[in-house]
Each structure stands twice: as structure tokens, then as C-alpha cells.
């Protein structure tokens, strides 16, 4: 077993993410790696294929800042609030640049991650039948016939991101990473990835991991950055809650191109670290 290097967030992103790559920042409401996304914006990454089940605010920000050429996703909204205005602007008006879509349902994208995590070239589900997704995204959706029953099912190609980035509560000093609480498709996105980079709330001597916990072995992790508050305004169970008020406030910030750009400049581009970002956004106690 090789212990992954513990790097600064800046170095971890600079070392592993390059323009044009397929990158998945996963986390379902919980443990969304905002700090990592902001750092990619600071480093002016471009032409990325961004993969996420629920693009959420972090991809709204990355899309609005021109990082993305393509989006692989299954539901693109501000949960419980409304639209992702930057995602909409990119799709509806190609601002700041055109955005290609590889669009699925949750069940479908989960199958694609699971196939990638399992070393299979495709996955199978009972779904998509009778929907226009099948024609809108023809190259990524096929049918397949069960050789035993003759049933016709839907086949989807495996997802194997060049880099998956997760935020997790804990790593131990060997680099084993604990996932806990709502994990979404984090495990599958991690196992599917060619390279896995993780930000964590803290490093501990001993993971708070019962016997059947979700632990990612150290030898599957390429780099770890310790970033307290790294999921904010998403949350890290047991550390801090989701800032629902920020999600509500984002609706106004993101609605207008100029206001969005100014906010991103002030809060992300002009802060050097995530701790500075948290200070400036007023999220530090």
C-alpha cells in the first residue's frame, strides 16, 4: 500500500486536473467539493467535460466562469429553489461559451458510474422507454436484448472520469478516506475514476469507521488536501449544516451576468484559499 501525498488544495488540483479532461465532482447535496471547484476556477481550467448527477451551484459557477465545454448530468437545478441561471444561460444563449450536453436520468447516470466502477464497458437498466431522452442523446443510449428472456432493455456506456474529486469528513494518516451519511454516487464515482483526488475536513489517527463503513483505501487515492469547510455551502455531516440561506441567496446572484461575474471575482478569483473565501462570504464563526 502506498500512502497518497497530502498536498495543498492548489497543488492537488494543479497536479491532477488539466484542460480538456473529464472531471467528476460528486456528492449528492451532502459533501459537494465546493473548495475544489473554486480552486479549478482560480486556476482558469477550461474545456472540461464536467460530470455530476446534480450540477448544483458549484457547476453553475464553473459553467458561468467558462470552465466547461460539456456537461454530463441528470438534474440541473438549484434544489428546492429553482433554476441554475448560469447553466440555463449557457444552454439557452451560449454564454460565456456553448455547452454540449450528455443528459440522462438519475437511474441512468448511476448505472453509468456503476459500470465504470465495475470495469464493464456498459450498464443495463429498465428505463428511458417511451421518453425523448432516447432520441435527444442517441449516441449515449442504446437497447440491448436479454439472451435468456428476450426482454429489451436500455444499455448505457460506462463513465470513467479522468479525475473524480470528492470531499470527505476524514482521512487517516495512511490516506484511507471515510465517507459517511448521504453518499450519493460518491463510491461509484471514486471507483470508476482513473485518478481520485479527495479533500477532507480533517486528518485523524483512527477513522471513525464502524466495520461496514464506506472507506476508500489509501492506495486508490492520488492526493489528499485538508480543507476544513471544503463542502460549504453544501454540508459535511457532523461538522456543519447545509447553508440553505446561501442556496436561496444564490438565485439572485446568479440571475444576472454582471452580478454573477462580480461576485465570482470578489469571492473566488480574488481569494487565494478556501479559508479566505469562507471569510469573505461571511461563513466563518
Amino acid at each position: 500500500m502506498t500512502t497518497p501525498p497530502f498536498l495543498s488544495l492548489r497543488d492537488a488540483m494543479a497536479r491532477h486536473v488539466r484542460d480538456g479532461m473529464t472531471v467528476a465532482l460528486e456528492g449528492f447535496t451532502h459533501l459537494i467539493p465546493f473548495a475544489a471547484g473554486h480552486e479549478l476556477i482560480r486556476q482558469h481550467r477550461a474545456d472540461l467535460t464536467l460530470v455530476r448527477m446534480t450540477p448544483d451551484l458549484i457547476y453553475d459557477q464553473m459553467i458561468g466562469m467558462g470552465c466547461a465545454a460539456k456537461l454530463v448530468f441528470s438534474w440541473g437545478g438549484n434544489p428546492g429553489v429553482g433554476s441554475l441561471h448560469r447553466l440555463r444561460d449557457a444552454v439557452e444563449h451560449q454564454w460565456p461559451r456553448p455547452l454540449a450536453l450528455d443528459e440522462h436520468s438519475h437511474a441512468g447516470l448511476a448505472v453509468r458510474y456503476t459500470a465504470g466502477a465495475s470495469g464493464l464497458p456498459f450498464g443495463v437498466l429498465k428505463g428511458y422507454t417511451g421518453t425523448d431522452l432516447v432520441t435527444a442523446n442517441k449516441s449515449q443510449i442504446a437497447t440491448i436484448t436479454c439472451p435468456f428472456t428476450g426482454d429489451v432493455l436500455t444499455a448505457l456506456p460506462a463513465l470513467t472520469p479522468d479525475v473524480t474529486i470528492l470531499h470527505a469528513p476524514q482521512a487517516d494518516r495512511e490516506g484511507n478516506v471515510l465517507l459517511r451519511g448521504i453518499v450519493g454516487a460518491c463510491r461509484e464515482a471514486a471507483q470508476a475514476a482513473r485518478v481520485l483526488v479527495v479533500t477532507v475536513e480533517e486528518v485523524v489517527d483512527q477513522l471513525d469507521a464502524p466495520m461496514n463503513a464506506f472507506v476508500i483505501p489509501a492506495w486508490q487515492v492520488a492526493a489528499i488536501a485538508v480543507v476544513p469547510g471544503g463542502a460549504y455551502p453544501s454540508y459535511a455531516h457532523g461538522y456543519y449544516a447545509r447553508d440553505n440561506a446561501f442556496y436561496l441567496a444564490w438565485d439572485d446572484i446568479a440571475r444576472d451576468r454582471a452580478r454573477f461575474t462580480e461576485w465570482m471575482t470578489t469571492h473566488v478569483l480574488e481569494t487565494a484559499t478556501h479559508a479566505e473565501f469562507l471569510q469573505r462570504v461571511g461563513a466563518v464563526a
Partner: protein
């Protein structure tokens, strides 16, 4: 009888559709309110599954998002998201699902993807999420939507989610295992599918609503059942429970989060 809003009536009507003990796949917003209202009133043993992986959850406040910590803390178990869709939904273990959408047609098909053409939409909507497979697999699909002539349309801009497809036996011929839409609950009343043609028919209206109101708020020539039932207004218990739930929810979501950084 206290005054109530159409939203409250809609939520109460949706809640009443849930049988105690049913296993329910819950979406965010009104469905979440309706499911929890049912659980706090006539259906204490309702099993709620949110797609975030929280199985058998009993939140004391409504989540803003589908993956709030409250759902995890009050769940019987928290599982990886892919398993919700494979081991539960696709395996046929979910009784009831709730969906909404931006557009619905007369056969209960839904659009939550785009207004306008897919490649050059005038409005890009959030997309499919869990909807297509929820509608594929649940024994009984409940749809909750405000009814206007713009949302109840003759022709969907995009079919995100299959209801009864072109009606008749089209759904079962396509091999969709679940039962399809059981009812559409609106701010005016309820539409239910004709057992033969599967076309949605106005079968019940709320107090103070006329059949003509409902017809006017529909983008296709709406069929009306021979007898249109009147839906009983919310009871005091229903209203109090719903409002207390929503008050708790507002309170919980109001405060900003402050993080203590290590020094």
C-alpha cells in the same frame, strides 16, 4: 372552518391519497410536504424513501434539498444512491411515487426538460432526475401540478417521463412494469385516467371551483366524468399539522451557517 390556500388544499388532497403502510418514493417540494403530512396524520407507518439514499426516513422538518442531513439522521438506513434505483425502485419494491413537471399531456406524460426544441430551447428546465424510472416502476404514480392552459398542453415540447404514452394499452405494450398515473392532483381538483382510453378525466373538484374553471385552465378539450366529486376541505387537524410542519421548516432554514475553522 379556517380559510386555506389552494396550495394547502392540493397538499392535503395529495396526502389523503396515501395509504398507511405504503412504500413511497418522495420528491422534493409539495410531494415531500404531502407525504410527511400523511405520515403525521392518517398514515403513521408510511415508508418514505428519498432518492438521496435515505430509506424509512421520518424528518421533523421538510428538507429544502433531497439530501438534507435531517433526512439522514431520521432514516432507518442511508444507502448509496445507485441502490435506491436498483434494489428498491427497479426491483419493484416501491408502491407509490410522486412527480410534477413543467408540462403534462392528456395521457399523463410529463415534460421537465425543455420548453422549445431540445437543441435550442427557449427555457432549459432541470431535466429528468429520478422521474423517468419512478414513473416506469412504481405501482401507482401520483402527479401534482398547478393547472394552467400553458402547463396542461395538447402536445409536450419534450417527453421526459412516460405516463400512458399514446393511451389505451400503449404503456403495457411498451413493457413499462409500473401501473402508470393513478391521479393528477391540481390546484383545482383531481384528474384520473379513463380505464379504457387512459385519457385524463376531471373526476373531482375543490370547493369553490367550477367545472368551467378547470376546462378553461386546460390546453386540450378536457373530458369530464359523469359525476364530479367535491373534495372535502382540509380538516382542522390537517391544516394545523401542515402549517406547524411548514413553520418548523421555515425556522430551520432561516439561519445562516457559520463554520469554525481550526486555528
Amino acid at each position: 372552518m379556517t380559510a386555506y390556500t389552494p396550495d394547502e388544499m392540493m397538499t392535503v388532497a395529495a396526502a389523503r391519497r396515501l395509504t398507511n403502510g405504503a412504500v413511497c418514493f418522495v420528491g422534493i417540494g409539495l410531494p415531500s410536504a404531502a407525504c410527511n403530512l400523511a405520515r403525521l396524520t392518517h398514515a403513521p407507518d408510511l415508508v418514505l424513501i428519498y432518492e438521496s439514499g435515505t430509506v424509512g426516513t421520518r424528518p421533523t422538518v421538510l428538507p429544502l434539498s433531497i439530501g438534507d442531513g435531517e433526512l439522514a439522521e431520521t432514516a432507518r438506513s442511508v444507502i448509496p444512491l445507485p441502490e435506491v434505483f436498483t434494489h428498491y425502485l427497479q426491483r419493484g419494491r416501491v408502491d407509490v411515487g410522486f412527480l410534477g413537471g413543467a408540462q403534462i399531456d392528456r395521457f399523463g406524460n410529463l415534460n421537465s426538460t425543455v420548453i422549445g426544441p431540445y437543441d435550442t430551447p427557449t427555457v432549459r428546465l432541470p431535466g429528468a432526475g429520478g422521474a423517468p424510472e419512478i414513473a416506469t416502476h412504481v405501482r401507482e404514480l401520483l402527479i401534482v401540478m398547478k393547472q394552467t392552459a400553458r402547463t396542461f398542453v395538447d402536445q409536450l415540447d419534450f417527453r421526459t417521463t412516460a405516463g400512458f404514452l399514446d393511451g389505451g394499452d400503449a404503456r403495457s405494450r411498451a413493457g413499462l412494469p409500473g401501473g402508470g398515473p393513478r391521479a393528477v392532483i391540481t390546484n383545482l381538483g383531481e384528474l384520473t385516467p379513463d380505464p379504457g382510453t387512459r385519457e385524463l378525466v376531471l373526476s373531482a373538484i375543490f370547493m369553490g371551483v367550477t367545472v368551467d374553471d378547470v376546462r378553461a385552465a386546460c390546453g386540450w378539450p378536457l373530458r369530464v366524468a359523469d359525476t364530479v366529486a367535491r373534495i372535502v376541505p382540509p380538516t382542522t387537524i390537517e391544516l394545523q399539522t401542515l402549517r406547524a410542519l411548514q413553520d418548523r421548516t421555515r425556522e430551520a432554514h432561516a439561519h445562516r451557517v457559520r463554520i469554525t475553522l481550526p486555528t
